[in-house]
Symmetry: C2
Subunit: 83 residues, 2 copies
Amino acid sequence: MKFLAEINVMPQKEILDPQGKAVRIGLQNLDIHQVADVRIGKHIQLQIEANSEAEANEIVTNACKKLLANLIMEEFDFVLKAI
Amino acid sequence: MKFLAEINVMPQKEILDPQGKAVRIGLQNLDIHQVADVRIGKHIQLQIEANSEAEANEIVTNACKKLLANLIMEEFDFVLKAI
């Protein structure tokens, strides 16, 4: 079975997000002033070959913990769907 | 009213994704072989002050077109919710 995982890896809430601050200033320079806060992370799409949704879930969690997310500074969540 | 926009900015499908290729090799080196394809982009969260959902939608679309996405090589989509 094929699965598609849509993963978001974001800086943890307590951690300062300088990239987000820079983008907010950039938006203000473009006269877009209604943006109160900006947070920027990674969106990762994985195509997985697995025998079940539970196995696919385990593969994605393992990939996030081992490589895709730096758990000291980042947090991750994902949605999984059969394709 | 306050809105939260969850934006995904991804490389267009036809465009080669070297970052994705590198991560796939990295996963294989970690004995995670069930990953057929990897695509990597940005996940951006914007907190918006707007009078209506339609106005918030316009602000986010404008921000994406002007700054957050490079429309030559990237495509974007987003979900908007009142907070």
